[in-house]
Symmetry: C2
Subunit: 372 residues, 2 copies
């Protein structure tokens, strides 16, 4: 994997770059749609590629491991062939889901014992196992197995957890270096900075992660309930330590405003379920502001949901579909929201290149947050 920064913003720490992977390039800053179970919910792959113009999508290791399982993925020749997606993909390590979805779990030095949220069966994930699983899934970028501490958590817990994540990282790196991609396409391991909301821990973690000299670096454990200002503070602190010439991935973030603010702090990659999850509940992002399509005011509004992204469907129709729980409503709303997120990252990039990113961000933020 190669990463070239073509433009650095003068008014902020934002950068525009290009990641070259074995399955094509990714223009940064980039938003990555989430396809938890091997499908970005309600959106066909052709729409994702041709209309939404996604450049890289995510899948969740924990979910794919449970269903359809590694044998199905392996015999298919990897996740790309299985779901028919030719562009880059990224998998998380499964760590976050083990902590958020599994009711019963036990964290030990060697790894995590937990039970499947589907059938209660006993499972064990370790850094080595998470690495092997992600080799089998075959994403272009995959994540180190970490512990994502809850929010709030005390300093001692956060410190111990961070050290465990660092030890686990070294085991991930060792296993990664001892193994090869299974499907003839390069894979890249990204380590994850942890440390909760504690500056000293975030600094220590960022320094440790930076020292690993991996092809890209991630910031985890944020956007888990902490105040947004703390999220920005931690992100800035960490970005200032992580190497300049490697892509930085802020995991699970966030709102359109979060994304623009964190681009300004030097983040290059984002993922979030917000555009698709909000879509299914009728919250629509547009370049003119936010629409709650369930609101009665849209009942007789026959103008397009969005002139550019979904010109063929009206607000009144989308409102009807969402209210009736028709699947087409989720498809239209998700197409709209993902198109908007891709547009937002693309516009940010354009303005970094043009040199007016900060002014553009200042002007557009109130528009994007505007409740229509």
């Amino acid at each position: 994997m190669k990463f070239n920064i073509s433009h650095k913003d003068t008014g902020s720490k934002a950068r525009a770059g290009i990641i070259e992977t074995g399955r094509g390039v990714i223009n940064t800053p980039i938003f990555m749609p989430v396809g938890t179970q091997g499908s970005v919910k309600s959106v066909p792959q052709a729409v994702l590629a041709d209309r939404i113009k996604a450049q890289i999508i995510l899948a969740n290791t924990y979910h794919i491991f449970l269903r359809p399982g590694l044998e199905v993925i392996s015999k298919a020749g990897g996740i790309h062939k299985f779901i028919n997606w030719q562009k880059p993909m990224l998998t998380d390590s499964g760590g976050y889901q083990v902590f958020s979805l599994s009711a019963i779990r036990k964290i030990k030095e060697e790894g995590v014992f937990f039970r499947s949220h589907l059938d209660g069966s006993k499972i064990f994930f370790s850094p080595e196992i998470a690495t092997d699983i992600q080799r089998t899934i075959g994403a272009d970028i995959f994540m180190a197995f970490d512990e994502c501490p809850p929010y709030p958590c005390d300093h001692k817990y956060a410190h111990d957890s961070m050290l465990l994540t660092h030890r686990w990282l070294q085991r991930c790196v060792k296993r990664f270096n001892e193994t090869e991609p299974l499907y003839g396409v390069e894979q890249n391991l990204f380590p994850i900075v942890q440390g909760s909301i504690y500056k000293d821990l975030r600094i220590a973690s960022a320094q440790f992660i930076a020292s690993q000299d991996m092809p890209g670096n991630a910031i985890g454990g944020l956007s888990v309930g902490e105040p947004v200002e703390q999220m920005y503070e931690m992100t800035e602190l960490v970005c200032d330590i992580l190497p300049l010439n490697k892509p930085r991935y802020l995991m699970g973030v966030g709102t359109p405003a979060n994304i623009l603010e964190c681009i300004a702090l030097g983040v290059d990659m984002f993922d979030c379920v917000m555009p698709t999850r909000n879509a299914r509940h009728g919250f629509i992002f547009t370049s003119k502001g936010i629409i709650n399509i369930k609101n009665e005011k849209w009942k007789f509004d026959y103008t397009p949901v969005d002139d550019v992204f979904t010109p063929e469907y009206s607000k009144a129709y989308l409102k009807h579909l969402i209210k009736c729980n028709e699947m087409l409503g989720a498809t239209i709303a998700s197409t709209q929201n993902l198109s908007f997120y891709m547009w937002l990252a693309g516009e940010a990039r354009k303005h970094i290149v043009a040199g007016d990113f900060i002014q553009w961000k200042k002007n557009i933020l109130p528009v994007l947050m505007n409740k229509l």
Copy 2:
């Protein structure tokens, strides 16, 4: 509306024709996908038109009346504009849903008092109201308000019900003739033959319906639980009485085999929720037979769901999506099943034109029914 029969099969009563409506032509025999609430479940309109090649779709008057309601449809300029569908549409009269969905209802000479299955509100439908509602919805073809008797029902109930349906038809026709289309495009009223499974009633009803000289005629009250042989018997009996030069629409039918058999009896138009409902449960129709995608045998089958209709997705992937309840599974399966139904009607038409319909039907039926 014009109907021209271009070819009559010599080995059966099948015919190939063209219906000309104000919104384009329909090649018969035809299958009409069902879009109950103004959306064919999980399938975007562009896919329906361009990929599935639907020529006419249905909406249900009862559902549209409840949600989004007539004011929304009327201000949109009719159902076509509301849902963004330019080709012909057909609405049922609401009668069937009043009887099947509403727990509380009272049938009187003037019409039916019932409660909404959504919020329990009191509603009254009459032949005049059902006609006015369908004028407001604006479909190209709409249906007379009838009583669809349950199966089984005794001869006296079926007889009384049929006579009520006939009296209601005359009121529908009167109201239809006193009113105009609201959106500048011609509308057509189809009457419905009833009579349950009683030959004498079906004959009497078909004669009465035929005497009305409407632009097309429908056969209702079948495929409601009676043995399939009785369904065929009633259909044949009725088709032999209905005018030759008007399209015949067999409501709510059916399986691929039902459709081919009834084409052979002289039916021109079909609708059924089977392709979309079965799709959502993982029952897939293909030109090689029927697939239950939940079956373990497909777990490692990476061949396309169908070489022609859904070549880009494998059986293994579709199985995974349906098992995980991912919406994309419903979309792929519905696209497949509707494409298959459209193909089936189109192939039947080709073979009627070619003069070998009966031989083709005999050869293909066992293949279509084959459980893969």
